[in-house]
Symmetry: C2
Subunit: 150 residues, 2 copies
DNA sequence: TATTGTTATACTCTATAACTATA
DNA sequence: TATAGTTATAGAGTATAACAATA
């Protein structure tokens, strides 16, 4: 059992690395945006409100890295920090019009690149089953994290 | 289609990040070894011969990073570079007895941690289907890479 | 006191590229 | 010329921790 799960882990890491690199290269070339920035902007755009700590919890990056990443998004003119009336320790993050526009342009590129690498490699039903399993694993791992397990 | 595949990609990245972090923390605490070092040593141990470029191709890290990582494994006394009689531009990498011993100790820790996070979260058949899909995706992505596609 | 950041240090990775030695 | 590897730079991530402001 343990060895099969180990093989799954190694394949998971290899697939993630290569898919991520492919998407990153494509987004950089087409829109001057890294895959990491794309993900952060996507999270900011889809949440009702978003603080730096929300990015940390969603992506499992460190607070320092998230703070600096937001600095860079702000410097590029894609994101703003606004005062949070409910808690003045934090800021509310939002995309600027330029940021929203860029994200809207980048989204089809992102989706095309992922689809090109994935669709057809495994059958539709197998892909669906994989998607369901990964979603369940994600939920479980995030639950453990929220439970303070690190 | 594209959006479902996008969701799969995001879940894949989140699962990989959290699983990798969990394994890394466990290996560090129990054996003073990072997950990256574990993987490199595992590759060196299972190959008949191993050069720096073989590590690069398997893990999709850069040549510079691989060279420095091997420096660190050597400095820790876990790995050796030996002259390659077939091609004097490269070295043949091998684990020292200390490195082999550490890897043998770390392997059950690694497998336990992965199994603890994965087994029971999805059913056995679903896990098997996921493993098969990931293996197919890995193979496809590596084939594209060997074809020189980046 | 605990939480939400920001900032700093040291280390590892990234991309890129110059460079050496060998094929 | 091309390949294998080392080395260097700058930028971005990691862990860790000190710190300020607020809850």
């Amino acid at each position: 059992m343990a060895t099969e799960v180990t093989q799954l882990f190694i394949d998971l890491v290899r697939v993630e690395t290569r898919l991520y690199n492919a998407v990153d290269a494509r987004l950089r070339a087409a829109h001057g945006l890294t895959a990491g920035q794309y993900q952060l902007m996507q999270i900011i755009s889809e949440r009702d409100t978003c603080r730096v700590l929300d990015l940390v919890q969603e992506t499992a990056i460190t607070v320092g890295a998230a703070s600096k990443a937001v600095d860079r998004l702000e410097a590029a003119g894609w994101c703003r920090r606004a005062a949070n009336p409910d808690d003045r320790r934090s800021s509310l993050l939002s995309l600027t019009p330029a940021g929203s526009g860029l994200l809207a342009q980048a989204r089809p590129t992102f989706e095309e690149e992922v689809a090109a690498r994935v669709v057809g490699v495994v059958t539709g039903p197998a892909l669906q089953q994989t998607a369901i399993s990964l979603a369940a694993l994600r939920f479980s791992l995030e639950r453990h994290q929220r439970a303070g397990e690190a």
